[in-house]
Symmetry: C2
Subunit: 636 residues, 2 copies
């Protein structure tokens, strides 16, 4: 069914079938030339995967594909292993594994789908040797693999690809030292030095300085080459074969390499935002990009004297945009923050390289002196905030909830013991979006923070509540707070009363009922709760009350008793692991009452959530409307 | 009452009253000479404080006192601030603050006592500007303070003292970068480079390499001098006054400086264990040390032409050793680990510079190839373990519970998502010992780990149960485990049946009863429970059942129902914050029963615990026998 592609058509997606990879790998060509063709074939397939999935990381998939292709085709022996520490480049790596015949070509259609290819690498996928996606762990993992090999008298080298923004993580530097002390020459780290991290140029965020000199002082052998020049890379790798120290290659690459308008070198200025770090290209960008790769492949194949490539095509499914009525908590947060910043000159915002996702760009523009970009260095950021708070500022600290609640966990506690006031804002909270997978699904953040004395955890259920809760944190909270934000646009079947003001430890009834009560927080779970309540009323003639309890680790026992009223069943619905979630708070409170105690059941995540589409992931966690409905109906 | 000291007497403790510090500070002497005398006076007082408290860090207090004295006496201006990032040297810093008249001399008697001077610095103490004791946060905190100063148009420099072992923490390196990018020339970091970390020489644990070269590549101005030579230090500081970059002084010092046999340079070999890192000197060592400092002070004062110093004396209170019957979980763990290591050739042990405290020395001796000292680098250690587990080893990862459960929290979760098996062993768990203070009191470890799918948390209540639970973790657990160990020797009023074997999720009745049930884990809480039960039987004629539930995040609901039986009251007694502790597990389980539900009350820590003696801290947390008894009796 393969076809040759002349002019790419908008709305059509193109990929290269496995048979073509077999053919090209078998061509009798100079090795570098063959690897270069292979890399571009992988680029087209990675682009296909990301376009079809609706999200993924093009920029770093493209920057690293020449490196990956050479490693897989020529450098690695059977006993060697490779993994990407940053993990963002998964589509690129998947496409190269597919090209090598190590992953089934059918998986190309299932990026970020359940039982397909996760958004970040997971060892459930063949040839993926370790889970990555939270940064800075790669060299440590590689050391462990090698130490195990040595103890078991196995040989084998480990190639670790890292990002350059990733080098801001302290663990990277922490991990360099013992590699030298242990003499682990089996490690080769290749830094995909594409100069950009998530938001902008690495040098703007946290300049690495003379990287080679720095790394050499840690005792590693360091070489530098053009990572998109396969010949140069091959020569550099060859020059390291007899080196007895652990090795680092700084591979200078171009983010988005291979599609002119996606290459970071096409940016107008070095303060511009790069548009192809994550997300999917629109139809027009896709067509232009595919065309450029296809045209270059045609030339390369012709130059090699081989038969032209054939492609498979598929019509791009229209991904329905979120409905116009969907609420967006991040822009609401931006507005609320700007308003508070006007009132409080001591309010400052700190960010860990997620300025776009955390909604801070308008803050930075309006209050440049009060914005602090800390880079991918969450521990440093949190302790910097601690120092600021000690000296009179009100720091608001931003990152994804998964990172913020875990990586700097001890630093947050240290700050808390000083009883200063700091507001932590964790976005991308909860099990959705499902695509990025478990490294990014924050379903443990309540548990890791709730026990900290003086710290109040809150989660808004809609745009209107975002500002109300931020105001409470800034103006009323006695101590530090954690504001948990779902980032996904979400259609919300309820509305807060116009005079609603959050009252500490107390919830708000969104829907009345007398047979059972569902308690939840946040837009995803409360929407499910409302839908379940309405369905149960129709199907089982049960009257279900739904309460929004935006307080995650504090509840007013008197209010709770009243809210429960005559309901004999209470369900706590958590966008979080059951253990340590809001339900534990409710259960602990109810369990100490001596009478009129309802049955409390906690529903939530109870295993590592999969990567998949949002409905797939909700279903797998039994948090979709049907599953919750069944769980509740079973108890009537 | 002051006295001159000829021959120090064994059993007597000596300290220098404040008036003598005033006199010496006012002497018209060369500044370096005066600071040197001041430093030795502080050494004697620090030694007094530690001997009286029964624990503290002599080695790093002594190595740093020449630096502290010069800073406080001569270098610092009123707007400048100083803090120690490592915090171990608190007795040294306290004694210098006392000598400066900034802390009341009466506090000299109250090191590690409640309302006295905490084991590690806390801002509740005058002149302490930030809480330290968990390592690596200092430069970050300083940056935050300076950024706040700048925003508020305040001037002032920040001097941060760090350890050299502390430089193994990734956060230190993470924090260096933005100090340069932000141009924070107000910071001067002084590395107390005394060559030893907790267990042994830094170079043996994780060689720092050419430290100055390394630091310079990060863009800092770096100087190096003899940190026990006050003249050299003063000159180095003076040379940096106009430097526009952030500054680091590598101060080469001698650990234990000022008492010949405590100086690390007196060690026979560079693999010897250093004995004066923490803990208190015995009576004879104290006498010899005091004598040496007193003799040198006599010479120095005479050389300065001043009147001889007078001293205050006090008889050293005999600190009762733990009773012979006290059980010690760490040695029991050592034995159990050795036995398991014989059975499992793939079992390896990893340590983060606490080999003595985690009981690993015999393991290292017996299985040198299977022991991995990772240094003060918990994140790296945990990810190394992850790599090892992926390649077939069974890693057992050791540190203090406070650090292990928080610093590498995201790395533990990352490992868990790979569904390999790793055993984490957290010692020094719980609120005791009370002396070190909140940085070391692990009362949050259950909450930060319990939600991780596949991870089982267990805590043994006596020596016999240590091995049984370790065996369960190694031989029976389906996934990763966390073994929570109380380190303090503890007298235990119960005994396990000789045929006892832990059964997953099920507890063991230690004492029968029918009116109420106390559920707990670990030696401290279960001893309290037994004492409370016996007292309540006598005073209130109530029959109280006590159950040891060594499972912290898993309970067998059927067993629990049976164990509760007819008891209408259940108390969960936690050596942990109430939130996220074992009680939440019990409450959540009981709350979903539809009938025969007892009242469940969780008792535990609910605010940042203080530093103090063990009885003081238990009392402050309302976890002593009398407080628990009152809490329970009030509910009858």
């Amino acid at each position: 069914m393969g076809d040759q592609v002349g002019q790419a058509v908008e709305g059509t997606l193109y990929y290269i079938p496995y048979a073509e990879f077999q053919r090209i790998r078998a061509l009798d060509l100079p090795r570098e030339q063959r690897a270069s063709i292979f890399a571009d074939m992988c680029r087209l397939n990675a682009l296909y995967m990301i376009a079809r999935a609706g999200s993924g990381h093009i920029g770093s998939s493209f920057s690293s594909l020449d490196i990956l292709s050479w490693l897989l085709l020529e450098e690695m022996r059977p006993e060697d292993i490779f993994f990407s520490s940053k993990g963002h480049d998964a589509p690129g790596y998947y496409s190269s594994l597919i090209g090598m015949g190590k992953l089934d070509i059918d998986l190309i259609h299932k990026l970020r789908k359940i039982d397909g290819l996760p958004g970040h690498p997971d060892i459930g996928t063949p040839c993926i040797v370790t889970n990555t996606g939270s940064l800075g762990m790669g060299v440590s993992k590689a050391k462990g693999m090698i130490l195990a090999n040595r103890l078991c008298k196995r040989s084998g080298r480990v190639f670790v690809l890292t990002g350059d923004g990733e080098l801001q993580e302290g663990q990277f530097w922490e991990s360099l030292v013992s590699a030298v002390n242990f003499g682990l020459n089996e490690i080769t780290v290749i830094i995909d030095h594409n100069k950009l991290q998530s938001d902008t140029f690495v040098k703007n965020v946290s300049d690495l300085g003379d990287l080679a000199a720095k790394l050499r002082t840690f005792g590693w052998r360091v070489e530098r080459c053009d990572g998109n020049d396969i010949g140069a890379l091959a020569a550099t790798l060859a020059s390291l074969h007899d080196e007895i120290r652990p090795k680092i290659i700084i591979a200078d690459t171009i983010k988005g390499k291979g599609v002119s308008f996606m290459e970071h070198t096409s940016l107008d200025s070095d303060v511009a935002m790069y548009r192809f770090h994550s997300g999917a290209p629109d139809a027009s960008s896709y067509r232009l990009a595919a065309q450029e790769i296809v045209d270059r492949l045609r030339q390369q194949i012709a130059g090699a004297g081989a038969t032209a490539l054939t492609f498979e095509t598929i019509e791009r499914e229209a991904t329905a945009p979120p409905p116009a009525t969907a609420q967006r908590l991040i822009p609401a947060y931006t507005q609320a923050l700007l308003a508070q910043a006007k009132n409080h000159p001591n309010l400052v915002a700190l960010d860990a390289d997620l300025i776009l996702d955390t909604g801070l760009i308008p803050f930075r523009e309006k209050f440049p002196d009060r914005f602090f970009e800390c880079g991918i260095a969450e521990q440093d950021m949190v302790s910097v905030a601690g120092g600021m708070a000690l000296n009179g500022l009100l720091p608001i600290v931003h990152s994804f909830a998964c990172f913020l609640s875990a990586r700097p966990n001890e630093q947050i506690y240290n700050n808390a013991t000083e009883k200063t006031k700091i507001i932590y804002v964790g976005s991308l909270a909860g099990v959705l979006p499902g695509g990025p997978g478990h490294s990014h699904q924050a379903v443990r953040d309540i548990s890791t923070l709730a026990a900290i004395p003086g710290m109040t955890l809150v989660e808004p259920c809609c745009e209107a509540e975002v500002g109300l809760l931020l105001n409470w944190c800034v103006d009323e909270a006695p101590g530090s707070c954690y504001l948990r934000l779902v980032s996904l646009p979400w259609s919300i079947p309820y509305q807060l009363p116009s005079d609603y003001r959050p009252a500490f430890g107390r919830g708000l009834t969104l829907r009345d009922g007398s047979d059972a009560l569902i308690i939840a927080a946040g837009p995803v779970m409360l929407s499910t709760a409302i839908e379940v309540a309405e369905a149960l009323e129709q199907s089982h003639q049960r009257s279900i009350k739904v309460v929004n309890l935006p307080w995650l680790n504090q509840v007013d026992a008197g209010w709770l008793q009243q809210a429960i009223g005559d309901c004999r069943q209470v369900y706590c619905l958590g966008n979080h692991y059951v253990t340590g979630g809001q339900g534990d708070l409710v259960a602990r409170t109810v369990a100490q009452w001596s009478d009129r105690r309802p049955v409390v059941t906690c529903l939530g995540v109870d295993d590592i959530p999969p990567s998949g589409t949002n409905p797939e992931v909700l279903g797998a966690c039994a948090l979709d409307t049907q599953s919750v409905l069944r769980a509740i109906a079973a108890r009537f």
